[in-house]
Symmetry: C2
Subunit: 217 residues, 2 copies
């Protein structure tokens, strides 16, 4: 087989499909996912369904305890706080590091443009995807296997929190802040870049937590 051709195992494909259903809102908070149910829907064996579910549990998109059925968690403001507690230092370290690298930033630039290109009444999911992609691209620029995989673990729950709160900061503001961070990185101004990123992230954190509280009522 050609090396570039990558196949995905049944389990991976199933896990990806479930992930999409959670993040598209097809499975709302509180929805349960039994192993048998998933196995029947996708016509796979229960062990396969089990593994896929436990992968999502691992990434925080589902929760379960021993002998209980998995469910989609409703993230609280405590969860948001906890997520950003880890996210912020990681992303600041990323920005600080790549500000001096003069590395290729094509992916991040594209993500910034994509946000601007979303129509004002565009689908929320497209917007969220471009927002998250900007941050993921910056992380990937560092080129660290472990950093990228740890960050991906956070991304799942961050994505979920954005879906559940229906919104984050507003298109124009995010576009502006992303563009500013990127400009500072390209200018090699690490102090400015980390400062801008810190403001951007804390702003997002507070907006998310606020929206969640409103939604809870």
């Amino acid at each position: 087989m050609v090396k570039g051709l990558k196949t995905v195992s049944v389990i991976d494909a199933l896990a990806a499909s479930l992930r999409d259903r959670v993040l598209d809102g097809g499975l709302v908070a509180g929805a349960t996912l039994t192993e048998t149910e998933v196995a029947e829907q996708y016509e796979v064996s229960r062990p396969t369904a089990k593994t896929a579910i436990s992968m999502l549990v691992q990434s925080g998109l589902l929760r379960r305890e021993a002998h209980k059925t998995a469910y989609v968690p409703r993230l609280s403001d405590v969860d948001i706080h906890d997520l950003f507690l880890v996210r912020i230092p990681l992303e600041l370290a990323v920005v600080e590091r790549i500000a001096g690298m003069h590395a290729a930033l094509g992916g991040a630039e594209q993500a910034v443009r994509d946000i601007a290109a979303v129509p004002a009444d565009g689908a929320h999911s497209v917007f969220v995807e471009a927002d998250l992609r900007f941050h993921q691209e910056l992380v990937d620029v560092v080129g660290s296997r472990r950093l990228s995989s740890l960050y991906a673990l956070l991304t799942g729950e961050i994505h979920l929190s954005m879906v559940q709160s229906r919104f984050a900061l507003g298109r124009d503001r995010i576009f502006g802040e992303h563009a500013a961070v990127l400009a500072a990185i390209k200018a090699g101004d690490a102090a400015q870049a980390t400062s801008l990123m810190r403001d951007h992230l804390t702003g997002a954190q507070h907006a998310l937590a606020e929206q969640l509280l409103i939604g809870d009522s």
Copy 2:
């Protein structure tokens, strides 16, 4: 069942046993672990063995690619660099945060004392364990579920790197540096604490990388 009573599933127990074997050096770098082999040794089914192995793969203590046998990786200086790239910002954020908390630090204090108590010719594994426990305790003080679990992911590979390099910094130096960091935290001096921790970690990183290079020859 009483809540405090915790049972461990067969899979968890098996995974823990395998982890111990890897970290005690019972399984040296390059050693392979086939599913059937593990299943027979522990008298469990192959699916159970498979799950336990994939848990270790997840935590970096084993590696495997599709359709290939899992093996104990030989960590290189590149791995060390990658690990500390993520570890340092996380631990600095931890120290910065808990320096102002006036939280209970009993666990960390105990870990510092335990290092001092290791006899000069004491077992390497005891020493390594106390060293890692100091850092883990500090992380746990923050009280963040996600931070602790992400850090635990790193700890596995860090532990492995210390086992493979046979050594880190020297007992007295580590004791002194740990004690100094802890003192700064208790004094509430965040700047001093993070500075000391940064020096401690970069020192450890370089010592590890150096030892690994020697071992490779």
